[in-house]
């Protein structure tokens, strides 16, 4: 008899704990969608090439189609359903809505999760391929449109909403900056 191919695991998603038994082959994406009914995270290619399934795992963006559910045990997972603060949209979500940073909306959850992480990565001083000065002491580079485009390029949008997405991310970044300055 072959070894068991199912395991009981615990997933922490959007601040809630879920205990479930999964096939070892189940991806985090399929576990979220098929088992936890969190269908906001989308399957665009199932190969890690389009970014539609992007979620945050311990705060870092991850394509959930390339992560096995069993490997996500005890990690903090945030999906698009957990980005807003209750009824209040996250500044990234609000900017996407106001500036029409989407058309069909299918890549949108991935774009939004990615953008939330981009703003954090940038604030933490992470460089990108578009960064001129990559020395650690240089600090975060200016978040130019070119920086946003480079950092968001793992998320395809076939409707071609890129112009508005970049504007939305820039606006969310600016509003985050304002909030920080107001708090300081």
């Amino acid at each position: 008899m072959a070894a068991p191919t199912f395991s009981a695991i615990t997933l922490h998603v959007n601040g809630e704990k879920h205990t479930l038994t999964v096939d070892h082959r189940t991806t985090l994406l399929d576990a979220l969608r098929e088992r936890l009914d969190l269908t906001g995270t989308k399957k665009g290619c199932d190969q890690g090439q389009c970014g539609a399934c992007t979620v945050l795992v311990d705060g870092r963006r991850t394509v959930s189609c390339l992560q096995l559910a069993v490997a996500a045990e005890d990690r903090e997972i945030t999906t698009v359903e957990g980005i807003a603060d209750g009824e209040r949209l996250h500044p990234v979500q609000q900017a996407f809505l106001d500036l029409d940073g989407f058309q069909c909306g299918y890549c949108t959850p991935g774009q939004i999760c990615s953008a939330v992480a981009v703003l954090r990565e940038h604030a933490a001083g992470w460089p990108s391929a578009a960064t001129a000065d990559v020395r650690p002491e240089a600090g975060p580079p200016p978040l130019t449109d070119e920086e946003i485009r480079e950092r968001m390029s793992g998320n395809l949008c076939r409707c071609g909403a890129y112009v508005s997405i970049v504007q939305a991310v820039a606006r969310a970044a600016a509003s985050g900056q304002q909030a920080e300055e107001a708090a300081a």
């Binding site: 269908t39 665009g44 989407f102 058309q103 076939r158 409707c159």
Partner: protein, 708 residues
């Protein structure tokens, strides 16, 4: 008539998408997002051979695998019909008439469906299924001089000819004679094709992702020999379509399996399967011959477009059609031809005909301008027709030159040095280019129902599809104006075949067709509402059917137009082409919602960049199997490829449409690839007549130019 002074007109005012909040929070459910108890999962198995016959399907070992419920194939599948014509005037898509015979006409032909309890089990079993074939050598040889190429009428006549072409060419002071090619291209909406089917209270219910639920219902009903009322298709949110989301193998497979198993079944195409099952734009080889007098006035125009179709259905990509609208000449010959090969059947893809055709025609115009020593916009102005060059019919509105004037002003065209290869920015050569755009403006019959609710709000029901176009929001705005209320008091429900027949989201006709029907029903409702009277709990409903009104439209040349401008930078060391900026100005009827319309135009222009520089599907020349069949192998433009693009429009209401709409879904891509290619010529002095303009092609062309 009294008007409420504080009521602002909704049409023409920017409005965020009414379902936008659901889309940014992940609440919007698409076809594969609906849970069902007892849901089974189907996985399609496609042929690995390029042509032949199925000898045997080894179902035994697969049926013994954990969770496997059934394996459907030509030997055991229910019989369905495929011998009818759909509401779009064509037979069902060949791969959708599943498992009815043992022939394999091309690689990627669906040969079986494995259904299992979980997606993991279905996938493993589908990949383990062994299918034996008697192979035959496929014919995959696509080239311009195929002796068996033949003209085929699609939605347009294949051939239109007037005048003596050779005589006019011989008498021309300047002649351009060039061949252009475009590759196989794929729609690849971000949402893969998906459908879940189940039998509920004697009805076949399908949750689907499509461009028209009544279209899908009518096809499924005919295939399964059911009364159309016994089938319901819902498609509330659709993750992009671009022409690919009609009736395809997935809905039929889900319906078949749900019928056999008597439980809900979901079938989703994999991204790889979409290269074979979702349709595509066929490659084209096009020849354009232009003859002009010394002042650049056309005497001869010939455009021939050849595309491969499958051996099981003719699909013609009418690339020669735009010439019949754009430019006149004493001798005017256009022809669309096909050759049948062992390839999947192509289909409509955003601006079918116009997208590849405009690349060839508008590149040739640029070449003619160069040879005549004329500015490309001036050349077009000198050839602006007063009537349809082939039809002789008047234009319902042709603001092409106004688009060029506005675009030239905003783009700074007047400062352009027409000589190629003059501008440099470090290692980058810079150039600018322009091209014209057009796309037919049409409408299809639709029905709608508008209900005045007891609480003072209104509900609109129409079998429309919002595939990302913003149709749901546009209909809301049109209804609000027609009902003399605010958009907030109007709820629009779409994507349900039970709402009655309606036009599909296709051919840039959706919003116009649906707005027409909604406006008519709203007008009827207003007549029936007695001021001050109480509305009963069930509301008061008025219905409309625009069949007669749409059919009564007088014959005319009805089109949207546009002018595309692009600036590119070409890396002389690597051959990389980068678009630096782009501007599109359109004359495309009344713009219902400026916010979403801009997105749609820009999306079309992004497609133009993608077509010009990135997209190219490759097939193994011996089998026809797609190579690099994923989004890493098939490149579509991403964030880093798209600079700040601008799209705008001029006032251009259609005089014969109740709202003034023409349609904006497709004109944005038309001419865009040509504008980029013309800019590459201006940057480098080298013409690129084969898309995409890959770095290796740029380097090779530069080397050849040096040695010429």
């Amino acid at each position: 008539m009294t008007t409420t002074p504080e009521l602002r007109q909704a049409v023409g005012t920017a409005h965020t998408r009414v379902e936008g909040r659901d889309k940014v929070t992940g609440a919007a459910r698409y076809a594969a997002d609906h849970p069902f108890t007892e849901l089974a999962h189907g996985w399609l198995v496609l042929s690995t051979v390029g042509r032949g016959r199925i000898r045997a399907v080894d179902t035994g070992p697969v049926l013994a695998m954990p969770g496997v419920l059934t394996v459907l194939h030509h030997g055991n599948a229910p019989r369905i019909r495929g011998d009818f014509v759909t509401m779009l005037g064509v037979p069902p898509e060949p791969t959708s008439v599943l498992f009815q015979h043992d022939r394999v006409p091309h690689a990627g032909w669906p040969v079986a469906l494995v259904v299992a309890e979980t997606p993991e089990q279905a996938r493993e079993a589908a990949e383990a299924l062994v299918v034996h074939y008697d192979e035959e050598p496929p014919d995959l040889d696509f080239r311009a001089d195929r002796g068996d190429a033949r003209p085929v009428d699609g939605h347009l006549p294949a051939v239109a000819e007037k005048g003596d072409l050779e005589a006019e060419l011989a008498a021309s002071a300047v002649v351009v004679d060039a061949e252009y090619t475009t590759p196989e291209e794929h729609h690849h909406p971000m949402e893969p094709h998906a459908a879940a089917a189940r039998w509920e209270d004697g009805r076949l219910e399908v949750l689907d992702s499509n461009q028209g639920s009544t279209w899908v219902v009518s096809v499924l009903a005919q295939m399964f020999s059911l009364d159309p009322g016994a089938v319901r298709v819902r498609s509330e949110h659709v993750g992009g379509g671009f022409g690919s989301k009609g009736v395809r193998a997935h809905q039929v497979a889900a319906a078949m399996a749900a019928t056999v198993l008597r439980r809900p079944v979901r079938v989703v195409m994999t991204r790889r399967q979409m290269f074979s099952l979702a349709g595509h734009r066929s490659p084209t080889v096009q020849r354009v011959r232009l003859g002009a007098d010394a002042e650049g006035r056309l005497r001869a125009l010939e455009h021939r477009c050849l595309n491969p179709t499958s051996t099981v259905q003719d699909f013609v990509e009418p690339g020669a059609a735009p010439a019949r609208v754009m430019y006149d000449a004493a001798a005017h010959h256009t022809a669309n031809l096909v050759v049948a090969l062992n390839r999947p059947t192509p289909t409509w893809m955003r601006a079918p005909g116009e997208a590849p055709g405009s690349f060839a025609l508008e590149s040739a115009l640029d070449e003619l301008a160069e040879q005549c020593g004329l500015d490309p916009i001036e050349l077009r102005a000198r050839n602006e027709p007063t009537h349809g060059p082939v039809s002789g019919l008047p234009f319902s509105g042709r603001n092409l030159l106004a688009c060029f004037r506005e675009g030239a002003r905003r783009f700074g065209w007047a400062e352009r040095d027409p000589r190629p290869g003059r501008r440099r920015d470090g290692r980058w050569l810079l150039g600018t280019g322009t091209a014209a755009a057009s796309f037919p403006a049409g409408a299809g019959p639709s029905t709608a129902a508008v209900t005045a609710e007891a609480d003072g709000t209104f509900t609109v029901r129409i079998g429309a599809a919002d595939i990302g176009t913003g149709a749901r929001t546009a209909i809301t705005l049109v209804a609000a104006d027609a009902l003399r209320t605010t958009p907030e008091r109007v709820r629009v429900r779409i994507g349900d075949s039970d709402f009655g027949p309606a036009m599909i989201a296709g051919g840039s006709t959706g919003t116009r067709s649906w707005a027409w029907a909604v406006r008519a029903a709203a007008a009827e409702l207003r007549e029936r509402l007695v001021p001050g009277a109480t509305i009963p709990p069930q509301g008061i409903t008025a219905r409309s059917d625009t069949t007669e009104a749409v059919g009564a439209l007088a014959a005319a040349e009805r089109h949207s137009f546009g002018a595309q401008f692009a600036e590119v930078a070409v890396d002389t060391a690597t051959g990389e082409v980068r678009v630096r900026r782009m501007l599109g100005i359109f004359a495309a009827g009344r713009i219902v919602n400026p916010l979403t319309a801009r997105s749609q135009f820009l999306g079309g222009m992004v497609w133009g960049i993608s077509m010009a520089l990135h997209e190219e599907a490759v097939r193994d020349p011996s089998s026809g199997v797609p190579v690099g069949a994923d989004l890493a192998g098939y490149h579509v433009a991403t964030h880093a490829d798209v600079p700040l693009l601008e799209a705008d429009w001029i006032d251009d209401p259609d005089p014969d449409d109740p709202v003034g709409i023409k349609g904006i879904g497709e004109v944005g891509i038309v001419g865009a690839a040509a504008a980029v290619a013309n800019a590459v010529w201006h940057a480098t002095g080298v013409r690129h007549r084969d898309l995409p303009i890959r770095p290796d092609r740029v380097l090779r062309a530069a080397a050849e130019a040096r040695h010429a």
